[in-house]
């Protein structure tokens, strides 16, 4: 059992960190702590996984719900943070990309908790049908929400 768990951990660790980053305004240390808590819960529930849904559906449910449980501890970073005010954009493409990710995380943090989960899974390339199963919303509702969230994020990223 430990081997299966270790495999699941290694294959999904980065995905879980990226998801948690969306709930902590891109703070890497906090995201790693949250990810550890996610996998502690995964371990505690590992025996109860019954293959009724895909393992990723099960994993994302635990991950998002763990992030929701920690809303009290996590603080929102103000949207007027340095990332948005920094016009001396580093010309190094990697640095510039990192700044774009950081902006995106801060914009994602302005969304409500369910919309955050939806867009983070969409960015991760999770099929909309699976996103519907994770959230408990209808497939049609997910499609509409994604469209609306993209518009909100566009405005936020462009600081409109």
């Amino acid at each position: 059992m430990e081997e299966d768990f270790k495999k699941l951990y290694e294959e999904n660790y980065s995905k879980m960190v990226r998801l948690c980053l969306g709930y902590v305004s891109g703070d890497k240390d906090m995201a790693k702590d949250l990810t550890q808590e996610v996998f502690i819960k995964v371990w505690r529930n590992f025996n109860s996984f019954r293959n009724e849904s895909a393992i990723t559906t099960w994993l994302y449910r635990i991950a998002v719900n763990t992030c929701l449980m920690n809303l009290r501890k996590t603080k929102k970073a103000p949207i007027t943070d340095a990332v948005f005010q920094d016009n001396t954009i580093d010309t190094a493409p990697e640095k510039e990309r990192e700044q774009q990710f950081q902006k995106m995380y801060q914009c994602i943090d302005t969304l409500g908790p369910t919309n955050k989960a939806i867009i983070l899974m969409e960015l991760e390339g999770i099929p909309q049908k699976e996103i519907a199963q994770v959230t408990g919303l209808k497939h049609e509702a997910i499609r509409t929400r994604i469209h609306r969230i993209k518009n909100e994020l566009k405005k936020c990223v462009n600081h409109e």
Binding site: Y9, R18, R61, M69, F101, T135, G136
Partner: protein
């Protein structure tokens, strides 16, 4: 939204370090620590209750009805509040997370609504019981303690009450903000 699609294409390429063998070991020790922490919490709780009961007999409160009643009420108020807090923390930790987000959000909302009830109704009642019981003990304190120590007890209790009031206010504010966040979508 081309910019979004571009970002989506690069999303999984973010520079996030994968887990190292030491990360997995840390996780394993974290798993063990959860059970250990729960045991320690239970021991501390039982010890607190034990110390309060010993204190009750130590001060000989049982021999004087009024004093016994007052000290008993103070201890009961403390024990109830500590128990409610411990049960509440345990309840949050044990919430089933492998369910849909919408379902989980409903459970979390109920949890925080109960917490606010505890802060706004139960805690003030317990605080009032505690304060009243303490107030009935003051004449005994005045007789048996020096004037300086008596004044110290009175003023420090008032200060503690004010600090506790601010603490409750802060807790309510934080939990109301989580509740409104959960109600957003």
């Amino acid at each position: 939204m081309n910019e979004f699609e571009e970002l989506k294409n690069d999303w999984t390429e973010q520079p996030i370090q994968g887990p190292s063998p030491s990360d997995f070991l840390e996780l394993k020790s974290g798993i063990k620590n959860v059970a250990k922490k729960q045991k320690i919490t239970n021991i501390v709780l039982l010890a607190t209750v034990g110390v309060l009961i010993v204190f009750f007999f130590y001060v000989g409160a049982i021999e004087y009805n009024d004093v016994a009643l007052a000290i008993g009420a103070m201890i009961a108020a403390l024990v109830i509040r500590v128990l409610v807090e411990s049960l509440s923390i345990a309840h949050l930790k044990n919430l089933v997370t492998a369910i849909s987000i919408q379902n989980f959000k409903e459970r979390l909302k109920k949890y925080y609504q109960n917490r606010i009830w505890v802060h706004l109704v139960l805690t003030p009642i317990l605080l009032a019981v505690y304060s009243f019981a303490f107030w009935t003990l003051l004449p005994d304190f005045k007789v048996s303690l020096s004037e300086g120590f008596y004044n110290y007890i009175v003023y420090s209790s008032i200060a503690l009450l004010i600090i506790f009031g601010f603490f409750i206010g802060n807790e309510v504010r934080k939990e109301l903000s989580v509740l409104s966040e959960l109600k957003r979508d």
